[in-house]
């Protein structure tokens, strides 16, 4: 059976999409949390992620049950998640440089 939408861990607040066919407005049923249905707010291209629930600015983005960064603004359920609304926490030399200045 074809598998195209992945929520890896129960703690995750994002799903990864392995198809180019999911467009804004589509209703996606998830395996985790069980049978939850999410309506997409954006087109989600191959390999990209969407929020499986509302995420507030500053909240950790969870994938593999681990933090992969934090929300740089409020994110709605079903919204595309990528560099425009998530930022890395680790190895941020730019933030160190800002503090020095």
């Amino acid at each position: 059976m074809s598998r195209r939408v992945f929520v890896i861990d129960e703690k995750d607040n994002v799903a990864t999409v392995i198809t180019d066919e999911l467009k804004a407005g589509a209703e996606v049923q998830l395996e985790k949390p069980e049978n939850k249905t999410v309506q997409l707010q954006d087109d989600i291209s191959y390999g990209h992620k969407f929020a499986v629930r509302k995420i507030s600015r500053g909240e950790k983005i969870m994938k593999y049950g681990m933090p992969i960064g934090k929300a740089s603004r409020d994110i709605a359920q079903g919204e595309h998640i990528h560099t425009h609304n998530v930022e890395a926490i680790r190895a941020r030399g730019d933030l160190v440089a800002d503090q020095v200045e």
Partner: protein, 389 residues
């Protein structure tokens, strides 16, 4: 007994190839090496821009890498060429270490020969002798516990952490269950995943080593005072859906499987002979990480990719695997193992791991990788820390 057919060396290590290795000691020997290795069948030439005007630490790194290539069991015989004796990395110092394996080694110094043409002739004469000598060696059946498998990833995307990396982890787990060894590298791509790795360390000392190398790498990045997004994750990583370095790391470490971590190795360091999984401290740059792994003695490497890749080390067959249907179409000339059915039809990660494992064994018994057929040798890069001096 699970087995493959390889070339048993005097020191009981086993090669999966039987190359005549022609090695540049310094940059200025490169053309002599190319001339000879480009002509002699089954010769591999390795050239590089280093071995001159390096800081002591970097010259040591170059030396260890060249020695490691010579000791790699895929080399049946070795010729080291230099233009001048660079103390700390001379051809005879390199050859002396390689000779400990028992394989035939020779050195050529261009200056002592009376110039580049005489040096070329002398190198050819050694090659004539060595190539015929090693050509008589036959493959023998040996147990898979003789294998040291390299684990690496590149041009990763979000498919990498879902399918090829965990599938490669299954392959590595199985090899280690059977007494073999694996090496995972790319320290940059442990950042954000170090707790997961440290939990699997065999003891507290190894756990501390893992934190030490990750902290050092992160400190070096922070010291640059730069926004590294675009370099880590790379532009192609982000196009593939990876948003942050932490996301890339947590996917990347999946290729280490679930075995305990036995130890942390320096660049190009050979792991102990005890079975198990080892970490090598290398940059995230794919060419540099697989070069460190090849110099550490790995006979074969599996390179997982999301977006597709051309990488292949000249001395160590480098199998590429992807689960991304789009990349398979775009980069099919250099992808060896197709596990796109993980997404298309629900192939399990165990089954995908088994497919990788079987292709590793076939390759180790002599099956050519696509890059070997095409002569792609894009994966040789010696890491350095300081500028040239």
């Amino acid at each position: 007994m699970e087995s493959f057919y390889g070339f048993v060396r005097d020191n009981e290590q086993v090669g999966v190839r039987n190359y005549l290795l022609v090695l540049s000691g310094t940059i200025y020997a490169n053309e002599v090496v190319n001339r000879v290795a480009g002509t002699v069948p089954n010769a591999v030439g390795i050239t590089h821009p280093l071995g001159r005007c390096q800081t002591r630490g970097d010259l040591r790194k170059t030396f260890n890498t060249l020695v490691g290539f010579g000791k790699n069991p895929n080399a049946g015989a070795v010729i080291v060429v230099e233009h001048y004796k660079e103390e700390g990395c001379t051809a005879s110092q390199i050859a002396e270490e390689i000779a400990k394996t028992g394989k035939p080694v020779a050195t050529v110094n261009i200056h002592d020969c009376g110039g580049t043409l005489e040096a070329t002739t002398k190198t050819f004469r050694y090659a004539l002798d060595f190539a015929r000598k090693i050509s008589t060696q036959q493959r023998e059946k040996v147990a898979v516990d003789k294998l040291l498998l390299g684990l690496n990833c590149g041009t990763s995307d979000t498919t990498s952490g879902l399918a090829p990396n965990p599938a490669l982890g299954k392959c590595s787990d199985r090899l280690i269950d059977l007494g073999g060894r694996s090496i995972i590298a790319e320290t940059t791509e442990f950042i954000g995943g170090e707790d997961v790795l440290a939990e699997r360390a065999v003891n507290q000392k190894v756990a501390q080593e893992i934190y030490r190398i990750v902290n050092n790498m992160e400190e070096e990045i922070l010291a640059e005072g730069e926004d590294i997004r675009g370099s880590q994750p790379t532009g192609d990583n982000m196009a593939g859906g990876l948003s942050t370095l932490e996301e890339k790391s947590l996917g990347a470490i999946k290729k280490s499987g679930s075995q305990p971590i036995q130890g942390v190795l320096d660049w190009a360091q050979e792991p102990p002979s005890d079975s198990g999984l080892y970490i090598m401290d290398t940059p995230g740059h794919g060419g540099e990480s697989i070069t460190g792994i090849a110099a550490g003695g790995a006979q074969v490497l599996v390179f997982t990719t999301g977006g597709g890749h051309t990488i292949s080390h000249p001395l160590m067959p480098t199998l590429k695997v992807t689960a991304n249907e789009q990349s398979l179409e775009l980069m099919r000339d250099t992808i060896d193992i197709d596990i796109t059915d993980v997404f298309a039809s629900g192939l399990s990660l165990n089954e995908a791991g088994e497919r990788i494992y079987q292709e590793v064994l076939a390759t180790c018994s002599g099956k050519l990788t696509k890059c070997e057929v095409l002569g792609e040798q894009t994966g040789m890069a010696i890491a350095r820390e300081a500028p040239s001096v």
